[in-house]
Amino acid sequence: MSAATPTAAGARAASVEAAIRAANDEGRAALVVYLPAGYPDLAGSRACLEAAVEGGADLLEVGFPYSDPLMDGPTIQAANQVALEAGLTPRDDFAMCAELTAAIDVPALVMTYYNLVWHYGGTERLEAFAVDAAEAGLAGAIIPDLPGEEGGPWRAVADAHDLATVFLTAPVSSEERLAAAAQASTGFVYATSTMGVTGARETLADSARPLVERLRALSGRPVCVGIGVSTAAQAEEVAGFADGVIVGSALVRAIAAGGPSAVAELTAELAEGCRRGYPG
């Protein structure tokens, strides 16, 4: 495996923030779409991710299924389980991502749990994962069970391979922790709207807006809000105060209901919400 050779210094990681700011410049919040690799199967997941781009997604998060996803609710767990039972591995997921990123013009990040990142490539550990992520055309990684104080080794490797690193923040995070997460994140800062795991909720938690405002006061990084955003109305609400809106579970359910065309349709509705709600 060759060492990662970014086409231009910092271009890959920087594409994440650039995509969000480009959407903002066009008068809308960026729409970030999460879908798992390998659901309903590998080719199907690629078709759904491409459909999300057609529907207006500005950024993709590709979930790599893990056996013990403790940050995920029932919808994403069930989709992950389908991929795991089919025997798909992170190597298969990267192969799919390479085809995906060649076919789309928005950045894609991998979202998975730390044990998979750390294990990949045997003794090469984090390095091998970063190399293959970069070679697959991915722009960065989101690792929800890797908090800042344990994240140093991955950040160093990600920086060396020009991959963006996105850390999560929560409504209960202290000011110090928010500042550290904002400082350590490249690309954007992930604001979890509520205390809980992924999954649709009827109403958006009141805790999202204050969290975004606290993060805004601490750094100039874009702030994207995820967890519990599933409808165009909720996307519109979040677009009123955040730079980006992250939707996952609702789109996974759309796959089950109607495949790629249902994904494109819901994505377009969500994108419209992101436009309607954006200030100014």
Binding site: S67, D68, L70, T89, N115, L146, P147, V172, M195
Partner: protein, 410 residues
């Protein structure tokens, strides 16, 4: 090697093991828990209340019993049994849940959640929730709720709600995931009363602090009986709470061997075992770096043991550190060896052990043989075997076609 050769460790790490690999939403609660433990340990009133409840309610200190017929059978060192089976709820688990329950009370959290495999930790948590008048939710793999119906009823009788877990592989590890998900959502009102020396910091340290009374009592008792420390302490290891409780007070005594016995299932050369240290690799599971039974990509593997209490793909990070540094020795005993240990202890001593510590019986006998008649071995008898009687009968009769003892000789 001596204790001073061990790699440096801080409160949150054991050598390179341990740490805190959890979603950001839990970091605050883990910090709060760590601070609450430190405050409680500095408060004599907390210590006095816990000590009183351990004694009057829990039946501590548990006895240290010289097992003469087992010793004679081994033909070597004197074998003592630390009788955790005589504690309230029938195992060592009450020490942990009592400590954590009192800590939750101190933090003003009146909703306890727990995971359970066979149901022993769930029963212990339900017990303490009843004692302290708290709400209790126990997550249990759907399959286990069927296999361990009696423990489900026990929990319900004490007022707990048992939630069958249908995600993932529907086993103990998935019950832990589900408890973590509940905790992320309800952390302001809820304490996650984890059942072993596993999970993100401070759990491995906190649970160890509450169970180390086992080794502390043993130390006093063996000095009274033998006038010296034992040559070895032996305990079964799933997540590793009873073993850590026994080992920890002896870590600095280089002359005391620390021997952990994992569940070898159908053999380490098969995928059907739960011997995490003997047969696993380094990884991150349930918030800590330790040894894990997993595939080359880090996907956690299904495990097997005749004993549900050892049927877990991870192990406490402090055990990983003891193994890695050479201070501890970790072996595996198969299902067959555990059943033989179960039978020996029942027939020779009139003590029906839980299947978990039954794993440690044959390794203890072998060790006694190696040490010879001047040696002293302590086996931590971490629980009683009533819960396992049906399973043992089923395995012996149906699977192996053997009859039980009296029938066999009549």
């Amino acid at each position: 090697m001596t204790a001073t050769d061990l790699p440096a460790t801080d409160a949150s790490h054991y050598g390179r093991f341990g740490g805190r690999f959890v979603p950001e939403a839990l970091i605050g609660a883990l910090g709060e828990l760590e601070a609450a433990l430190a405050e409680a340990q500095a408060d004599p009133a907390f210590g006095a209340r816990m000590a009183a409840l351990r004694e009057d309610y829990g039946g501590r200190p548990t006895k240290l019993y010289l097992a003469e017929r087992l010793t004679a059978h081994g033909g070597g060192a004197r074998i003592y049994l630390k009788r955790e089976d005589l504690a309230h709820t029938g195992s060592h688990k009450l020490c942990n849940v009592l400590g954590q329950g009192l800590l939750a009370e101190r933090m003003g959290k009146r909703r306890l959640i727990a995971e359970t495999g066979a149901g022993q930790h769930g029963v212990a948590t339900a017990t303490i929730a009843a004692l302290l008048g708290m709400e209790c939710i126990v997550y249990m793999g759907e399959e286990d709720t069927r296999r361990q119906h009696l423990n489900v009823v026990r929990m319900q009788l004490m007022g707990a709600e048992v939630v069958p877990v249908t995600s993932g592989t529907r086993t103990l590890k998935d019950a832990i995931n589900e408890a973590m998900r509940d905790w992320v959502t309800n952390v302001a009102t809820t304490h996650y009363l984890i059942g072993s020396v596993v999970g993100p910091h401070p759990f491995p340290m906190l649970v160890r602090e509450f169970v180390k009374v086992i080794g502390e009592e043993t130390r006093v008792q063996i000095l009274e009986r033998e006038g010296r420390l034992p040559d070895a302490v032996v305990a079964c290891v799933g997540g590793g709470s009873n073993a850590m409780g026994m080992f920890h007070p002896f870590i600095d005594d280089a002359g005391v061997r620390l021997v952990g016995v994992e569940a070898g299932g159908e053999g380490l050369d098969t995928p059907r075992h739960a011997a995490t240290i003997s047969g696993g690799t380094e990884g991150i599971l349930h918030g800590a770096r330790s040894y894990v039974l997993q595939d080359d990509y880090g996907q956690v593997r299904p495990t097997h043991s005749v004993s549900a209490g050892l049927d877990y793909p991870g192990v406490g990070p402090e055990h990983a550190w003891l193994a890695d540094s050479g201070r501890g020795t970790y072996l595996a005993a198969s299902d067959t060896e555990a059943l033989e240990g179960f039978r020996l202890l029942s027939e020779l001593e009139g003590i029906i052990p839980a299947l978990e510590p039954a794993h440690a019986v044959l390794p203890a006998l072998r060790l006694a043989g190696e040490l010879g008649p001047d040696g002293v071995v302590v086996l931590n008898l971490s629980g009683r075997g009533d819960k396992d009687v049906d399973e043992v009968e089923r395995v012996l009769r149906e699977v192996r076609g053997e009859a039980l003892g009296a029938e066999a000789t009549s």
